[in-house]
Amino acid sequence: MATFEWEDVKIEVDEDGFMEEPDVWNEKVALALASTEAVDELTEDHWKVVNYLRDYYKQFGIAPMIRKLCKQSGFTLKEIYDMFPSGPAKGACKVAGLPKPTGCV
């Protein structure tokens, strides 16, 4: 466990930089986390992805499968990688404050 600071944000993160306490997520935190994933700013498109992930997670308790994410958000996988260079799992889920994806490694 480590503490990650960015501007006035100060959160606990694990070794991979995922939030330890997803409850304290807010939009500022998202910006802070984005900065670690080679995302310079969060555009409307970014937020669309982030919000979809958060909604899905709230409803089902799990992250959506990537195919579903693309379909529902309307972005191709390539576009998602363009937005989040470290990809939907490491990049987008981290920014969205979801638990660290497992299993699919």
Partner: protein, 402 residues
């Protein structure tokens, strides 16, 4: 530096004995690098406590890719700080694992610069495994390697690094060019290798003949195994040589032929090729006398995997025989077809073999547009629970779907 090695009496035992010792390898690397030195300590502790000291998961990678790096942290980072991060990178091996020493040395140099200096040559999927570096070094390692022409392989729910037997490069039995096909498929599916988007992993393995020297039938979602359709080629004189050199052809060849299609009258060998099961045994036993035919191609099988979760599978026949010619379009189209279906209907962490079994092979074939043929089954169904798909209604003239 050697003298500040940790005390490792347990694993030191593994430096004894005639087989090459991995402990010695780690020590060799530890001479110039702190990470392997910590690894020695950690391993000794594992040997002492009989438990591993690596933590679950870790999600790290290089930019633009979703796979190819296995994140790893130890659970005693204070004690072993030099391996507190110890991620491995999977580097896509060249087809057939051929190298020039020049290329290999370059890889070594890069890994000396960025990583632990430890490798697996190779991992069991086939990659070059660069064993252990920190998060910060991932991207630089990747870019240095890329500059030398190497790229990262698969991990996660993507296409895994394809592999192949050495095929036509050195084997007289290769029924198609495995190394070419493996390279071609790897290039074709770069995006699918690097950006996981499937329900689960998908592996390709290419073997040149039914001896299956990359174990494709046991370890790949799609197994492409060379075979032939015409007659086994025979050199009668060479057979006579085998016999006169003391080979017991009846016992060692004829009696072991699973097609029961070889006859040996003490002088002449004859094969009923229409009953030959293409098992390779007679050819294996008499390599100078027998060879596969010349109408060669591959049998394509689907679905093998380790036991998690439905139990282990062997691949089963999808296409009994197909010619293997670049660009292999028919196969690739089929692959896309079935990925679409699997991605649409597959469950999370459901391999394609499990998926086929869950939806029923008949339905699967129908969806991907392949005709069922008897070659696909060991035997037809034994149970009478048939989903007849249509029935007549009393007031119908026509058949009616339900």
């Amino acid at each position: 530096m050697a003298d500040d090695f940790p005390k490792t009496p347990l694993i030191d035992e593994l430096e004894k004995g005639p087989w090459p010792s991995f402990v010695t390898e780690i020590k060799m690397a530890a001479k110039d690098n702190a990470a392997p030195k910590d690894l020695l300590g950690l391993l000794e502790q594992s040997y002492d406590e009989k438990i591993c000291h690596w933590k679950h998961g870790g999600i790290v990678g290089v930019l633009g890719y979703g796979g190819g790096v296995i994140g790893r942290y130890n659970d005693l980072p204070e004690k072993y700080p030099n391996i507190s991060h110890f991620h491995t990178m999977r580097i896509n091996q060249p087809s057939g694992w051929y190298y020039s020493t020049e290329a290999l040395r370059k890889v070594c140099n890069i890994w000396e610069k960025h990583g632990s200096g430890l490798t697996n040559m190779h991992g069991s999927t086939g990659d070059i495994i660069l064993l252990g570096c920190t998060t910060d070094e991932l991207e630089p390692t990747f870019q240095d390697l890329a500059k030398e022409g190497f790229d990262i392989g698969g991990s996660g729910s993507d296409v895994r690094t394809p592999s192949c037997c050495l095929g036509k490069s050195r084997c007289e039995w290769a029924c198609y060019d495995t190394m070419a096909a493996c390279y071609d498929f790897t290039q074709e599916f770069q995006d699918e290798i690097h950006r996981p988007a499937f329900p689960y992993k998908f592996k390709f393995k290419f073997s040149g003949c039914p001896n299956d020297c990359v174990a494709s039938i046991a370890r790949s979602d799609m197994s492409i195994i060379g075979t032939w359709r015409d007659d086994i080629r025979m050199d009668k004189d060479a057979i006579t040589d085998y016999a006169s050199n003391g080979m017991d052809i009846q016992k060692d060849v004829v009696d072991l032929c699973p097609g029961k299609c070889i006859d040996w009258d003490g002088k002449e060998l004859s094969i009923d090729n229409s009953s030959c099961l293409h098992c390779m045994h007679c050819i294996n036993a008499m390599p100078k006398a027998l060879r596969p035919g010349t109408d060669t191609g591959a049998c394509i099988l689907l679905g093998s995997k380790a036991p998690i979760i439905e139990g282990a599978f062997l691949s089963s026949v999808l296409i009994p025989f197909i010619k293997m010619e670049p660009p292999y379009q028919e196969i690739k189209d089929l692959v896309e077809e079935m990925w679409d279906l699997w991605c649409e209907e597959g469950k999370n962490r459901e391999r394609i073999g499990e998926f086929i079994q869950r939806m029923g092979m008949g339905n699967f074939l129908e969806e991907i547009g392949v005709e069922p043929v008897a070659e696909m089954v060991a035997h037809p169904r034994e149970n009478p629970y048939v989903f007849y798909e249509e029935y007549y209604e009393e007031d119908d003239e026509e058949e009616d779907g339900d």
